[in-house]
Amino acid sequence: MIERILILLLFLVGFSGILARKNIIKKIFGLTLINSAAVLLFVVEGSRVGSQAPIMEQGISQVVDPIPQALMLTAIVIGVCVTALALALAFRLYQAAGSFDIDEIRRRVHDES
Protein backbone atom coordinates (compact mmCIF):
# COMPACT_ATOMS: atom_id res chain seq x y z
CA MET A 1 0.00 0.00 0.00
CA ILE A 2 2.65 2.52 1.08
CA GLU A 3 4.78 1.48 -1.87
CA ARG A 4 2.02 2.23 -4.30
CA ILE A 5 1.35 5.63 -2.72
CA LEU A 6 5.05 6.47 -3.05
CA ILE A 7 5.05 5.41 -6.68
CA LEU A 8 1.96 7.51 -7.31
CA LEU A 9 3.78 10.46 -5.75
CA LEU A 10 6.77 9.78 -7.99
CA PHE A 11 4.45 9.78 -10.98
CA LEU A 12 2.86 13.04 -9.91
CA VAL A 13 6.26 14.66 -9.34
CA GLY A 14 7.28 13.64 -12.84
CA PHE A 15 4.03 14.86 -14.34
CA SER A 16 4.33 18.18 -12.56
CA GLY A 17 7.81 18.48 -14.04
CA ILE A 18 6.37 18.07 -17.54
CA LEU A 19 3.61 20.54 -16.81
CA ALA A 20 5.19 23.28 -14.78
CA ARG A 21 8.90 23.40 -15.63
CA LYS A 22 9.73 25.82 -18.41
CA ASN A 23 13.08 24.27 -19.26
CA ILE A 24 12.55 21.55 -21.86
CA ILE A 25 15.37 19.41 -20.46
CA LYS A 26 13.46 19.41 -17.18
CA LYS A 27 10.36 18.37 -19.09
CA ILE A 28 12.32 15.42 -20.44
CA PHE A 29 13.40 14.62 -16.86
CA GLY A 30 9.70 14.50 -16.02
CA LEU A 31 9.07 12.10 -18.88
CA THR A 32 11.74 9.65 -17.71
CA LEU A 33 10.39 9.89 -14.17
CA ILE A 34 6.81 8.97 -15.08
CA ASN A 35 8.17 6.15 -17.17
CA SER A 36 10.16 4.84 -14.19
CA ALA A 37 7.06 5.14 -12.04
CA ALA A 38 5.10 2.90 -14.41
CA VAL A 39 7.94 0.36 -14.50
CA LEU A 40 8.29 0.38 -10.73
CA LEU A 41 4.56 -0.16 -10.31
CA PHE A 42 4.51 -3.23 -12.54
CA VAL A 43 7.58 -4.86 -11.02
CA VAL A 44 6.80 -4.09 -7.38
CA GLU A 45 3.27 -5.42 -7.65
CA GLY A 46 4.19 -8.35 -9.88
CA SER A 47 6.71 -9.59 -7.35
CA ARG A 48 4.11 -10.13 -4.66
CA VAL A 49 2.95 -13.58 -5.75
CA GLY A 50 6.20 -15.47 -5.26
CA SER A 51 9.50 -15.38 -3.53
CA GLN A 52 12.05 -16.50 -6.10
CA ALA A 53 13.46 -15.04 -9.29
CA PRO A 54 11.89 -16.59 -12.40
CA ILE A 55 14.91 -18.70 -13.31
CA MET A 56 13.89 -22.32 -13.21
CA GLU A 57 16.91 -23.96 -11.67
CA GLN A 58 16.68 -27.02 -9.44
CA GLY A 59 14.30 -26.69 -6.54
CA ILE A 60 12.63 -23.49 -7.62
CA SER A 61 8.92 -23.68 -7.05
CA GLN A 62 7.49 -20.29 -6.13
CA VAL A 63 8.62 -17.75 -8.71
CA VAL A 64 7.37 -14.20 -9.05
CA ASP A 65 5.21 -13.36 -12.06
CA PRO A 66 7.64 -13.12 -15.00
CA ILE A 67 5.17 -11.48 -17.39
CA PRO A 68 5.31 -7.95 -15.94
CA GLN A 69 9.09 -8.21 -15.94
CA ALA A 70 9.22 -9.16 -19.60
CA LEU A 71 6.78 -6.39 -20.48
CA MET A 72 8.82 -3.86 -18.54
CA LEU A 73 12.02 -4.77 -20.36
CA THR A 74 10.32 -3.59 -23.51
CA ALA A 75 8.84 -0.53 -21.82
CA ILE A 76 12.20 0.59 -20.36
CA VAL A 77 13.93 0.36 -23.70
CA ILE A 78 11.16 2.16 -25.56
CA GLY A 79 11.18 4.86 -22.89
CA VAL A 80 14.90 5.46 -23.28
CA CYS A 81 14.65 5.54 -27.07
CA VAL A 82 11.92 8.16 -26.92
CA THR A 83 13.99 10.14 -24.40
CA ALA A 84 17.02 10.07 -26.68
CA LEU A 85 15.00 11.36 -29.59
CA ALA A 86 13.44 14.06 -27.42
CA LEU A 87 16.92 15.17 -26.36
CA ALA A 88 18.08 15.37 -29.94
CA LEU A 89 15.09 17.55 -30.76
CA ALA A 90 15.79 19.67 -27.69
CA PHE A 91 19.35 20.16 -28.91
CA ARG A 92 18.07 21.26 -32.27
CA LEU A 93 15.62 23.68 -30.68
CA TYR A 94 18.46 25.10 -28.60
CA GLN A 95 20.44 25.69 -31.76
CA ALA A 96 17.47 27.42 -33.33
CA ALA A 97 16.39 29.56 -30.41
CA GLY A 98 19.44 29.80 -28.18
CA SER A 99 17.52 28.71 -25.13
CA PHE A 100 15.92 25.72 -23.46
CA ASP A 101 13.01 27.81 -22.24
CA ILE A 102 9.80 26.63 -23.89
CA ASP A 103 8.17 30.07 -24.03
CA GLU A 104 11.29 31.58 -25.51
CA ILE A 105 11.49 28.81 -28.10
CA ARG A 106 7.86 29.20 -29.04
CA ARG A 107 8.29 32.93 -29.40
CA ARG A 108 11.40 32.65 -31.55
CA VAL A 109 9.98 29.94 -33.78
CA HIS A 110 6.70 31.80 -34.07
CA ASP A 111 8.43 35.01 -35.08
CA GLU A 112 10.18 33.21 -37.86
CA SER A 113 7.18 31.48 -39.38
Partner: protein, 262 residues
Protein backbone atom coordinates in the same frame (compact mmCIF):
# COMPACT_ATOMS: atom_id res chain seq x y z
CA UNK B 1 10.53 39.96 -23.97
CA UNK B 2 7.95 40.04 -21.23
CA UNK B 3 7.01 36.71 -19.82
CA UNK B 4 3.35 36.11 -19.00
CA UNK B 5 2.69 36.33 -15.31
CA UNK B 6 3.06 33.08 -13.44
CA UNK B 7 -0.11 33.22 -11.40
CA UNK B 8 -2.49 33.48 -14.35
CA UNK B 9 -1.27 30.23 -15.86
CA UNK B 10 -1.06 28.33 -12.61
CA UNK B 11 -4.76 27.56 -12.22
CA UNK B 12 -5.13 25.24 -15.25
CA UNK B 13 -1.92 23.47 -14.28
CA UNK B 14 -3.14 22.80 -10.76
CA UNK B 15 -6.50 21.64 -12.08
CA UNK B 16 -4.72 19.24 -14.41
CA UNK B 17 -2.59 17.85 -11.58
CA UNK B 18 -5.67 17.26 -9.43
CA UNK B 19 -7.49 15.63 -12.35
CA UNK B 20 -4.58 13.26 -12.99
CA UNK B 21 -4.27 12.38 -9.32
CA UNK B 22 -8.00 11.71 -9.05
CA UNK B 23 -8.03 9.53 -12.14
CA UNK B 24 -4.99 7.50 -11.13
CA UNK B 25 -5.98 7.00 -7.52
CA UNK B 26 -8.37 4.06 -8.11
CA UNK B 27 -5.72 2.23 -10.13
CA UNK B 28 -3.01 2.73 -7.55
CA UNK B 29 -5.29 1.84 -4.66
CA UNK B 30 -6.61 -1.32 -6.30
CA UNK B 31 -6.05 -4.15 -3.88
CA UNK B 32 -7.21 -7.15 -5.84
CA UNK B 33 -4.85 -10.11 -5.52
CA UNK B 34 -2.31 -10.36 -8.33
CA UNK B 35 -3.48 -12.88 -10.95
CA UNK B 36 -1.42 -16.08 -10.97
CA UNK B 37 -2.89 -18.01 -13.92
CA UNK B 38 -0.17 -17.10 -16.38
CA UNK B 39 2.55 -17.47 -13.73
CA UNK B 40 1.40 -20.97 -12.87
CA UNK B 41 1.27 -21.96 -16.52
CA UNK B 42 4.79 -20.64 -17.13
CA UNK B 43 6.17 -22.27 -14.02
CA UNK B 44 4.76 -25.55 -15.22
CA UNK B 45 5.43 -25.43 -18.95
CA UNK B 46 7.72 -22.47 -19.66
CA UNK B 47 10.91 -24.50 -19.77
CA UNK B 48 9.37 -27.28 -21.81
CA UNK B 49 7.84 -24.91 -24.37
CA UNK B 50 10.82 -22.71 -25.01
CA UNK B 51 13.86 -24.47 -23.59
CA UNK B 52 14.87 -21.38 -21.63
CA UNK B 53 15.52 -21.71 -17.93
CA UNK B 54 15.16 -17.98 -17.55
CA UNK B 55 11.41 -17.49 -17.84
CA UNK B 56 11.75 -13.79 -18.64
CA UNK B 57 13.87 -14.72 -21.65
CA UNK B 58 11.30 -17.33 -22.58
CA UNK B 59 8.62 -14.65 -22.74
CA UNK B 60 10.81 -11.97 -24.20
CA UNK B 61 12.11 -14.04 -27.10
CA UNK B 62 9.59 -16.84 -27.24
CA UNK B 63 6.01 -16.17 -26.32
CA UNK B 64 6.15 -12.45 -27.01
CA UNK B 65 9.01 -12.20 -29.52
CA UNK B 66 6.89 -9.99 -31.75
CA UNK B 67 6.93 -7.28 -29.06
CA UNK B 68 10.70 -7.56 -28.96
CA UNK B 69 10.86 -7.08 -32.72
CA UNK B 70 8.86 -3.88 -32.29
CA UNK B 71 11.18 -2.76 -29.53
CA UNK B 72 14.30 -3.25 -31.63
CA UNK B 73 12.63 -1.31 -34.44
CA UNK B 74 11.94 1.57 -32.04
CA UNK B 75 15.62 1.48 -31.11
CA UNK B 76 16.67 1.42 -34.75
CA UNK B 77 14.54 4.42 -35.66
CA UNK B 78 15.54 6.30 -32.51
CA UNK B 79 19.26 5.80 -33.13
CA UNK B 80 18.97 6.81 -36.76
CA UNK B 81 16.79 9.79 -35.97
CA UNK B 82 18.93 11.00 -33.09
CA UNK B 83 22.12 10.87 -35.11
CA UNK B 84 20.44 12.48 -38.10
CA UNK B 85 19.02 15.34 -36.07
CA UNK B 86 22.19 15.94 -34.06
CA UNK B 87 24.55 15.97 -37.00
CA UNK B 88 22.49 18.16 -39.23
CA UNK B 89 21.47 20.91 -36.89
CA UNK B 90 23.56 23.90 -37.77
CA UNK B 91 22.52 27.38 -36.85
CA UNK B 92 19.20 26.94 -38.52
CA UNK B 93 17.66 30.34 -38.00
CA UNK B 94 20.78 32.16 -39.04
CA UNK B 95 21.25 30.55 -42.40
CA UNK B 96 18.02 30.93 -44.31
CA UNK B 97 16.26 27.75 -43.33
CA UNK B 98 13.20 28.66 -45.40
CA UNK B 99 14.52 27.14 -48.59
CA UNK B 100 11.99 24.36 -49.16
CA UNK B 101 14.29 22.40 -51.44
CA UNK B 102 16.72 21.50 -48.73
CA UNK B 103 14.62 19.06 -46.82
CA UNK B 104 17.13 17.31 -44.65
CA UNK B 105 17.01 15.87 -41.20
CA UNK B 106 16.87 12.25 -42.14
CA UNK B 107 18.76 12.86 -45.32
CA UNK B 108 18.73 14.58 -48.61
CA UNK B 109 19.16 12.60 -51.77
CA UNK B 110 22.82 11.74 -51.50
CA UNK B 111 24.13 11.29 -48.05
CA UNK B 112 27.55 10.75 -46.72
CA UNK B 113 27.99 8.63 -43.67
CA UNK B 114 29.05 11.11 -41.03
CA UNK B 115 32.32 10.35 -39.37
CA UNK B 116 32.83 10.57 -35.67
CA UNK B 117 35.74 9.49 -33.67
CA UNK B 118 36.83 9.44 -30.11
CA UNK B 119 40.41 9.28 -31.29
CA UNK B 120 42.74 11.82 -29.77
CA UNK B 121 43.99 13.66 -32.81
CA UNK B 122 40.49 14.52 -34.03
CA UNK B 123 39.38 16.16 -30.85
CA UNK B 124 39.98 19.67 -29.75
CA UNK B 125 39.64 19.34 -26.04
CA UNK B 126 41.71 16.91 -24.03
CA UNK B 127 40.45 17.98 -20.67
CA UNK B 128 38.89 14.65 -19.81
CA UNK B 129 41.40 12.43 -21.52
CA UNK B 130 44.18 11.62 -19.20
CA UNK B 131 46.77 9.04 -20.02
CA UNK B 132 45.40 6.86 -17.24
CA UNK B 133 41.94 6.84 -18.79
CA UNK B 134 43.31 5.78 -22.13
CA UNK B 135 45.38 2.95 -20.74
CA UNK B 136 42.63 1.63 -18.52
CA UNK B 137 39.88 1.79 -21.12
CA UNK B 138 42.10 0.18 -23.73
CA UNK B 139 42.74 -2.76 -21.43
CA UNK B 140 39.19 -2.97 -20.19
CA UNK B 141 37.61 -2.64 -23.62
CA UNK B 142 38.15 -6.20 -24.86
CA UNK B 143 37.24 -7.63 -21.47
CA UNK B 144 33.98 -5.70 -21.41
CA UNK B 145 33.26 -6.86 -24.95
CA UNK B 146 33.85 -10.44 -23.94
CA UNK B 147 31.59 -10.07 -20.93
CA UNK B 148 28.95 -8.53 -23.18
CA UNK B 149 29.00 -11.57 -25.44
CA UNK B 150 28.73 -13.81 -22.42
CA UNK B 151 25.64 -11.96 -21.16
CA UNK B 152 24.22 -12.11 -24.66
CA UNK B 153 24.65 -15.80 -25.26
CA UNK B 154 23.70 -17.09 -21.84
CA UNK B 155 20.48 -15.09 -21.60
CA UNK B 156 18.37 -18.23 -21.69
CA UNK B 157 20.12 -19.68 -18.64
CA UNK B 158 20.82 -16.69 -16.43
CA UNK B 159 19.68 -13.10 -16.11
CA UNK B 160 20.64 -11.10 -19.17
CA UNK B 161 20.09 -11.63 -22.84
CA UNK B 162 20.55 -10.03 -26.20
CA UNK B 163 19.52 -6.57 -25.24
CA UNK B 164 21.43 -6.30 -21.99
CA UNK B 165 24.47 -7.96 -23.53
CA UNK B 166 24.21 -5.57 -26.44
CA UNK B 167 24.35 -2.57 -24.15
CA UNK B 168 27.44 -3.99 -22.45
CA UNK B 169 29.00 -4.57 -25.86
CA UNK B 170 28.20 -0.96 -26.72
CA UNK B 171 30.01 0.27 -23.64
CA UNK B 172 32.95 -1.97 -24.60
CA UNK B 173 32.96 -0.31 -28.01
CA UNK B 174 32.99 3.12 -26.39
CA UNK B 175 35.88 2.02 -24.18
CA UNK B 176 37.81 0.86 -27.22
CA UNK B 177 37.13 4.19 -28.84
CA UNK B 178 38.40 6.09 -25.83
CA UNK B 179 41.49 4.00 -25.31
CA UNK B 180 42.32 4.16 -28.94
CA UNK B 181 45.90 2.91 -28.75
CA UNK B 182 46.12 0.10 -31.22
CA UNK B 183 44.73 1.53 -34.44
CA UNK B 184 44.55 -1.81 -36.19
CA UNK B 185 42.36 -3.47 -33.61
CA UNK B 186 39.77 -0.75 -33.28
CA UNK B 187 37.97 -0.90 -36.60
CA UNK B 188 34.99 -1.65 -34.42
CA UNK B 189 34.69 1.95 -33.37
CA UNK B 190 34.26 3.34 -36.86
CA UNK B 191 30.82 4.67 -37.68
CA UNK B 192 30.67 2.94 -41.04
CA UNK B 193 31.46 -0.47 -39.57
CA UNK B 194 28.92 -0.09 -36.79
CA UNK B 195 26.25 1.05 -39.23
CA UNK B 196 26.91 -2.01 -41.36
CA UNK B 197 26.68 -4.38 -38.43
CA UNK B 198 23.43 -2.82 -37.33
CA UNK B 199 21.81 -2.95 -40.76
CA UNK B 200 22.94 -6.52 -41.37
CA UNK B 201 21.69 -7.65 -37.97
CA UNK B 202 18.31 -6.01 -38.61
CA UNK B 203 18.03 -7.84 -41.92
CA UNK B 204 18.96 -11.09 -40.19
CA UNK B 205 16.34 -10.50 -37.52
CA UNK B 206 13.61 -9.96 -40.09
CA UNK B 207 14.78 -13.05 -42.00
CA UNK B 208 14.75 -15.05 -38.77
CA UNK B 209 11.15 -14.03 -38.12
CA UNK B 210 10.14 -14.94 -41.67
CA UNK B 211 12.05 -18.20 -41.74
CA UNK B 212 9.32 -19.76 -39.65
CA UNK B 213 6.82 -18.97 -42.39
CA UNK B 214 9.02 -20.44 -45.09
CA UNK B 215 9.71 -23.61 -43.12
CA UNK B 216 6.08 -24.15 -42.20
CA UNK B 217 6.35 -23.21 -38.56
CA UNK B 218 4.38 -19.98 -38.70
CA UNK B 219 5.38 -16.37 -38.19
CA UNK B 220 7.98 -16.19 -35.44
CA UNK B 221 7.70 -19.92 -35.09
CA UNK B 222 10.84 -21.81 -34.27
CA UNK B 223 12.38 -22.73 -37.63
CA UNK B 224 15.13 -24.79 -36.00
CA UNK B 225 12.65 -27.24 -34.56
CA UNK B 226 12.66 -28.98 -37.92
CA UNK B 227 16.26 -29.95 -37.54
CA UNK B 228 16.83 -30.39 -33.85
CA UNK B 229 14.81 -31.26 -30.83
CA UNK B 230 16.51 -28.67 -28.64
CA UNK B 231 14.11 -25.74 -28.52
CA UNK B 232 16.48 -23.17 -27.03
CA UNK B 233 18.49 -22.88 -30.26
CA UNK B 234 16.13 -20.27 -31.63
CA UNK B 235 16.34 -18.17 -28.48
CA UNK B 236 20.14 -18.26 -28.55
CA UNK B 237 20.09 -17.26 -32.18
CA UNK B 238 17.71 -14.37 -31.57
CA UNK B 239 19.77 -13.28 -28.57
CA UNK B 240 22.92 -13.16 -30.67
CA UNK B 241 21.28 -11.21 -33.49
CA UNK B 242 19.57 -8.73 -31.18
CA UNK B 243 22.75 -8.33 -29.16
CA UNK B 244 24.77 -7.48 -32.26
CA UNK B 245 22.19 -5.06 -33.49
CA UNK B 246 21.75 -3.31 -30.14
CA UNK B 247 25.47 -3.21 -29.46
CA UNK B 248 26.26 -1.68 -32.82
CA UNK B 249 23.33 0.75 -32.70
CA UNK B 250 23.87 2.06 -29.19
CA UNK B 251 27.63 2.10 -29.60
CA UNK B 252 27.18 4.13 -32.77
CA UNK B 253 24.85 6.55 -30.99
CA UNK B 254 27.17 7.03 -28.01
CA UNK B 255 30.22 7.59 -30.19
CA UNK B 256 28.25 10.03 -32.32
CA UNK B 257 27.12 11.97 -29.28
CA UNK B 258 30.41 11.99 -27.41
CA UNK B 259 32.64 12.41 -30.43
CA UNK B 260 30.66 15.16 -32.10
CA UNK B 261 32.76 18.06 -33.19
CA UNK B 262 31.55 21.34 -31.95
Amino acid sequence: MKRPSVTSSAIPLITAMIAVAAVLLPIFLADTPWPVGARDYLQENGFGDSGAINLVSAIYLGYRAFDTLGETIVLLVAVGGTIGILTRSGAILAEGYTNPDTVAGIDSSEEEIPSFSLAREKRKSHALRTHLLEVVTAILGPIVLLFGFYVMLYGHLSPGGGFQGGVVVASGIVFLGLGNRMESSTKLTQAAVLGRIEAAAFLLLILASISGILLGKGFFGNPLSRFTAVPEGFIIMLNAIIGLKVGAGIGFMCIAILGRER
